[in-house]
Amino acid sequence: MIARAGLALGAVAAVTAPWWVANPYHLHVLIMAGVFTILALSLNLLLGYTGQLSLGHAAFFGIGAYTSALLSLPPLQWSFWLALPAAALASGLAGWGIGRLALKLRGAYFVLVTISFAGVISLVSINWMELTNGPLGLPGVPPPSLGPWTLRTKSAYWYLVLATAALAYFVCHRLVGSRIGRAFVALRENEPLAESVGIDGTRYLVLAAVISAAMAGVGGSLYAHYTRFVSPEVFLFSYTVTMVIMVIAGGQGTLAGPVVGALLFTALPEALREAMAWQWQMLAYGVILIVCVFFLPRGIVPAIVATTRRTDRAAGGPPEMRSGSVGLFKKRRGSDSRS
C-alpha cells in the first residue's frame, strides 16, 4: 500500500518537475539522475537478478553514446530516433559478445572480462582518431528533434529522459514477473538446481547481458544528445562504480532499488557541493556510503519494505505481501542467498 502510494507520489513529482524545479541546474541534476536510473536498472538486471557483476558497464554506456553521436553527426546525420535504437543495438551486440565469452566462466571471470573489455574499448576510443577524434571527442552532437520542435530546453529533455526511464523500468518489471526473470533469479540462487529443471544457464545469462547492455546503450545515447558532446570520458571506471553503488545501496534484485539509488547518489554529490567545502565532499560521500551499506546491507528499498511490513502487521493490516501481489518489490534478496 505504502509502495503504491510512494510510486504514485513519485510519478506526480516527476511529471510536474519542470514547474517546481526553478533552478535550471537542479533540472540538469534531475536529468542526469534519469539517465543514471536507466543505467542502474540495466546493471541491476545482471547484478541483482542473475548475480553476475559487470565492472565494465561504462563500456556499454559509452558504446551507446559514441554510436548515437557518430550516426547523427555528419556525414550520416541520422535522426535521433534512428540513432537511439542503433545505439541500443550496438551495445546489445557488444553485450552478446561479452556474454558469450565470459558467461561460460562465471563470477570472478565475468568481472575480469568486463573490466578488460571496458579498458580495451576506452583505448580504442582514444586512439582511433579517424573515427572518434581521439581524446578531443565529438562536439556538436545535435539535440533530438520531434517534427517541427527541437528538444533543446532542459524541461523538454527531462520528459524524454523520464519517458525512457519509465520504459526501462517497465521492461524490467515485465521481465522480472515472467519465466525469463525467474530463470535469471534461479541462476543467481542455485545454478545446478536451475539446470536440473531445464534452465539453460548460458543462454539466459547471455540474454540478460544483451538486454542489460542494450539498456545501458540507450542511456549512453540520451547522454550524448543531452550534453551534445562525447569524449573517451564516457568510459571512465568511475561511471561503472557509480552504477554499482546505486544498485547495491538502493537494493539489488529489487525493481525500485536502482531508481532510489540513482536519484539519491546523483543528488548527493550536488547537495554536498552546496553544503561544504570541496575538501570534505568526497569524504562525506564515502562516510554516507559506508553508513548506508553497514546499516542497510541489503539496500535502502528492502529495508523500507521490511519496516513497512512490520508496521502493517502491528497495525493489523495485510499480514503478508504475497509473492504475486506487489510487483514493485517482488524479488527480495535473502540475507543468506550469497553463502
Partner: protein, 254 residues
C-alpha cells in the same frame, strides 16, 4: 527404460566408476545402493550430465543422454534431486515451484515485454500448476514462506516439488530421506509411491536399507565402482557378495 552401458568415470588416476552397466525398467521404483564411496552419486552425476564420463553410453527411452548438458537432459524428461539439500533459498516455496515449471512455459522475450494475452494466460496457468504441485507434496501451508527458512525435512519436500514441477518421466532421487525423522520418511515413501503411480519411473540412491527394501522393485548394488548384484530386494538381502560388501553392517540388510 534407462540403459546405462559400460559407464566409466575417472578423477585423475582414481577410477570412480569402472564401467558399470545396468537397466532401469520404465514404471518401476529402482534403488542404487552400496557402501560409502561406491560411486552412487557419481553414477547419478554422470547420467544427468553433471559429470562427463570418460567412456560409456546412457540412453533414456531410446534417446542418448551422454554428452548432453543437464538442462538438455531435463528437456528429455530426466530430472534429478541432489544429495545435499538444494532449493532456491531466497525465494518463496511457491516461487521455487514456479521456477521448476520453467519447461512447461513457452513464452518468449517479445511476448513477455508486450504482455500478450497468451503470456498472461500462461502465467496464470503456471501459478495454478505450482499450487497443484504444492498440494501434491503437502506444502500448501508453506506456500509463501522463504524456502531457505523452512525446517530441513520440509526443504527436502520443496526440492522434490521443484523436481516434480519439471514433470519428469524419470526421476532420480539422491538420498531423499537423509536427515529425515521416522514420520517424515513414512510420508516420503508414500509420496514416492504416489509419484510412481503417476507414471513416473523413480530411481533412488538411498542409505536407509529398511526404506530401500520396502520401496524398491529392483535393487542395484555398487561397490568400488562396479555393479556387484542386481535383483529384487529378497535376492539382494541373501546375496553373499552384498553381505560381504556390507560386512559389519549386515544387520542393516535384515
Amino acid at each position: 527404460m534407462l540403459i546405462v552401458e559400460d559407464l566409466r568415470v575417472e578423477f585423475g588416476g582414481v577410477v570412480a566408476l569402472a564401467g558399470i552397466s545396468f537397466r532401469v525398467q520404465a514404471g518401476t521404483i529402482t534403488s542404487l545402493i552400496g557402501p560409502n564411496g561406491a560411486g552412487k552419486t557419481t553414477a547419478f552425476n554422470a547420467i544427468t550430465g553433471y559429470l562427463r564420463p570418460s567412456h560409456g553410453r546412457v540412453a533414456w527411452e531410446g534417446q542418448p543422454l551422454d554428452g548432453r548438458r543437464p538442462c538438455d537432459i531435463a528437456r528429455h524428461g530426466v530430472v534429478r534431486t541432489f544429495q545435499r539439500t538444494s532449493v532456491f533459498p531466497a525465494l518463496s516455496v511457491f516461487d521455487n515451484v514456479r521456477t521448476g515449471l520453467h519447461l512447461r512455459g513457452s513464452t518468449g522475450l517479445w511476448s513477455v515485454l508486450a504482455g500478450t494475452a497468451r503470456a498472461r494466460a500462461e502465467e496464470a496457468w503456471l501459478a495454478a500448476a505450482a499450487d497443484d504441485v504444492l498440494a501434491f507434496v503437502g506444502l500448501t501451508h508453506r506456500r509463501d514462506e522463504r524456502a531457505g527458512a523452512l525446517p530441513y525435512g520440509e526443504q527436502r519436500l520443496v526440492e522434490l516439488a521443484v523436481a516434480l514441477a519439471a514433470r519428469p518421466r524419470l526421476l532420480l532421487l539422491d538420498e531423499p530421506a537423509a536427515g529425515m525423522t521416522g514420520a517424515e520418511k513414512e510420508r516420503l515413501v508414500a509420496l514416492i509411491r504416489k509419484i510412481r503411480g503417476g507414471d513416473v519411473t523413480v530411481f533412488v540412491v538411498e542409505h536407509d536399507m529398511r526404506l530401500v527394501m520396502g520401496l524398491s522393485e529392483t535393487v542395484i548394488v555398487l561397490n568400488n565402482g562396479r555393479v556387484i548384484a542386481e535383483g529384487v530386494p529378497a535376492e539382494i538381502r541373501a546375496h553373499p557378495e552384498v553381505i560381504r560388501a556390507y560386512l559389519g553392517s549386515a544387520d542393516a540388510l535384515a
